[in-house]
Amino acid sequence: MLSPYRVIDLTDERGVLAGQMLADLGADVIQVEPPGGSSGRAVAPFFADCPDDSIYWAAYTRGKRGVTCNLEDQRGRDLFLRLLESADFLFESADIGRMAEFGLGYEALHERFPYLIYTSISAFGQTGPKAHYVGSDLAIWAAGTPLLMTGDDDRPPVRVSQPQSWGHAAGDAAGGAMLALHARHESGRGQHVDISAQVSAAQATLAQVLAHQLGAVEPERYGGGIKIRGQAIRGTADVADGYIVLLMGPGPAVGHFANHAVKWLVDIGAAEPELLDENFVTYADRVATGQADPALFPRIQEIMREAVAARTKQEMLEISIEYDLLLVPVLTVADIADSPQLEHRGFWQEIEHEDGRRVVYPGPPLNIMVDGDPLGISRRPPPELGQHNAEIYSELGMSAAEIEELRSEGVI
């Protein structure tokens, strides 16, 4: 769908997913790295059979072409400007002010390439009192507020063990850049898209980031559940081989799932058939007016916890589908690798790397049909350092001798 467009992707480990999102939709994305390689190539984890090869970098450069270009050198900057001549989008995540030092800041490039959509990804945004703060996954998650809401209440708040912050920011960068593309169709002009990872992280709070300003209480963290005004509600349960997400409650939004759970408990003989007469959609209202027993629902929750504890994650998933329960397994990374659902959907794709290794990747994030036909999926492996230098620089009209000269002088 985006095949008419070219992306110059200057991001490092901060935001490298954004360009890939456009690559997965068909754009020609060229990852630009310094001749010594991006700092993203040093980010863990690394391939078991190739310990210098960053899986992180491979994960988010799959589907892109790659060149090197030394922006510290004037000839490198001139070369970079030539790359931009055919570009619709630029993504960058350099430290604040660095692009301007190179003469590649937004104002300079907008003057030279008014058509270019220039997207900057940073921890806190391009300007403002914290613009020069040093960002990190943990600090961004702290500043955006989700970190304080996460974790066991008797220990420090805790993050997700695969860092998330820059992924959220990259997702916003892709969306913001596409909005700017539609603006360009109207105005004929590109513009600057300024992404703050702090703001992106605030998305991961279910709008609780607004709590104070709306006059609501501050959310509190509680492991495996939530705590409201000091009252803890567990949202998970133990099963024989791990955990499940189990949300059981009365009320108009989820009460019918509780009714379904009672049906299952009655069917397996764990609860008495009379309970089938109870309707948990209206139960809370009736408790409030004294027409229903407030002890009933906690008792059913207890029965439910005992019933699931004796079964496995997989058994509970099948029961959940059969009875329409609000219940799923807490899958581990190892479980996801073996998921029949992902297998069925053709999620995994094997890609042959330049050195012949065959590597299994997660597929693109969406299944897309264009005019009734599946959108083609690129199987382009992540580029080796400078892999497409000759190809791309010759597309710019440079001779083999010129390219060799730039290489020997460390420009590419």
Binding site: M1, I55, H192
Partner: protein, 406 residues
């Protein structure tokens, strides 16, 4: 006739938003921010869960009080339709023909039973762009799994990955798959719109929200799929940074606790931090990780005597990544978020004023402004039926009598 157009790059783009809760509506919110005319369709009988989840205005639960519903539906027009009623289905078909983009998030197969799915709508409008967004996708053995993003967090591995290795998973806050999924959906819808404008071709997008979230776990997934270890939760430990964690600070008046996040990413940064906590500044990453507990205790002893804001300022001045763990009150007073004008106050018919987050991107030439707060239940029923579908008063009365609207 139509509703008053918005302003911005998507002015004139028409979106029929049948999705609910967070993952789908967030997409429509972004399009409304940039000028699209978005009609949010709600069931009059099955309340949108976002309306019964806080944070609530004045901390008082109520279907018109939800800050969550307000945040993901600002700028939209509201219509109630009971799609089980045939007359409502006809209205929906006519609106789909009006629309450029239809978004929905029913369990796979539900819309097909009403003949309102992509295939049926495409017969009426061949160049339709449609997003169907579910937890696990339209097909496959588990496509009927019910759930919110909290279930998605379980199925996408995130639940298991947040927490301590010696404890049950703590999980992330809330329905995590609702956070990454809208980014992928929005980007693809805008690409589809661009493609349709050039080619006249319609596009169908089958989104599994869990698969969007898995993109943010891609390194761990590639590792395990290619002979590496399966990542497990490890608290705040980071294999390439030390010290790295959340440390206690002296709580300000009126708070029970206060924390600061600190991430030391290089030996240089450690050399600058070490003197503050009377540690050996020459230690390498490996040596620091071997003595992690001792260093964490030294660092915690230093932070716990100080206000989190002071720790943040001192360390950032030294070029070390640190930030207090912001409460939502801190966010309200954060000078950086204020600089970005991130919190927007909008006049509200019931509350006098409400607060929503701004667009998550700042576009220099076409900045976004939410035009109005999220609709109350059925707020624009009459306006939509008259202005978009040109229904007469009698036709609207008949429609109401059929039960289509309530």
């Amino acid at each position: 006739m139509t509703l008053p157009a918005g302003s911005g790059p998507l002015a004139g783009v028409k979106v029929l938003d049948l999705s609910w809760i967070v993952a789908g509506p967030t997409v429509g919110r972004a399009m409304a921010d940039y000028g699209a005319t978005v009609i949010r369709v709600e069931s009059p009988s099955r309340v949108d869960t976002a309306r019964v989840v806080g944070p609530f205005h004045g901390d008082e639960a109520g279907v018109e009080n939800s800050g969550l519903y307000g945040n993901v539906n600002a700028g939209k027009w509201g219509l109630t339709l009971d799609l089980r009623v045939p007359e409502a289905q006809n209205i929906f078909r006519r609106l789909a023909v009006w629309a450029d983009i239809v978004c929905e998030s029913f369990t796979a197969g539900v819309l097909a039973r009403w003949q309102l799915d992509d295939q049926h709508l495409r017969a009426l409008k061949p160049d339709l762009i449609m997003l169907s967004s579910t937890l696990l996708g339209q097909d496959g053995p588990y496509n009927q799994v019910s759930g919110f993003g909290s279930q998605g967090a379980g199925m996408a591995g995130i639940q298991d990955l947040a927490g301590w290795p010696d404890r049950a998973p703590a999980g992330p806050f809330g329905p995590y798959t609702d956070y990454p999924a809208p980014r992928f959906a929005l980007t693809a819808l805008l690409a589809a719109l661009d493609h349709r404008n050039r080619t006249g071709q319609g596009v169908f997008i089958d989104q599994a929200q869990a698969e969007g979230t898995l993109q943010l776990l891609a390194p761990a997934l590639i590792d395990v799929k290619n002979g590496g270890p399966a990542l497990e939760r490890r608290g705040n430990d980071d294999p390439q940074m030390s010290p790295h964690g959340v440390y206690p600070c002296a709580p300000p008046q009126g708070r029970a606790e206060s924390w600061v996040a600190i991430a030391v990413a290089s030996d240089d940064q450690w050399t600058r931090l070490a003197p503050l906590i009377r540690a050996d500044g020459t230690l390498s990453l490996d040596e620091r990780r071997q003595r992690q507990q001792e260093i964490d205790e030294q660092l915690a002893a230093w932070t716990s005597r100080r206000d989190a804001r002071e720790v943040e300022t001192v360390l950032q001045t030294l070029g070390i990544s640190a930030h207090r763990l912001a409460t939502t009150e801190d966010a309200a007073n954060d000078p950086q978020l204020a600089h970005r004008n991130h919190f927007r106050r909008l006049p509200h018919a019931l509350h006098g004023e409400t607060v929503v987050e701004a667009s998550r991107y700042i576009l220099s030439d076409t900045p976004a402004n939410p035009a109005r707060p999220a609709p109350q239940y059925g707020e624009h029923n009459e306006q939509i039926l008259k202005d978009v579908l040109s229904l007469t008063d009698t036709e609207i009365e008949n429609l109401a009598a059929s039960g289509a609207l309530s």
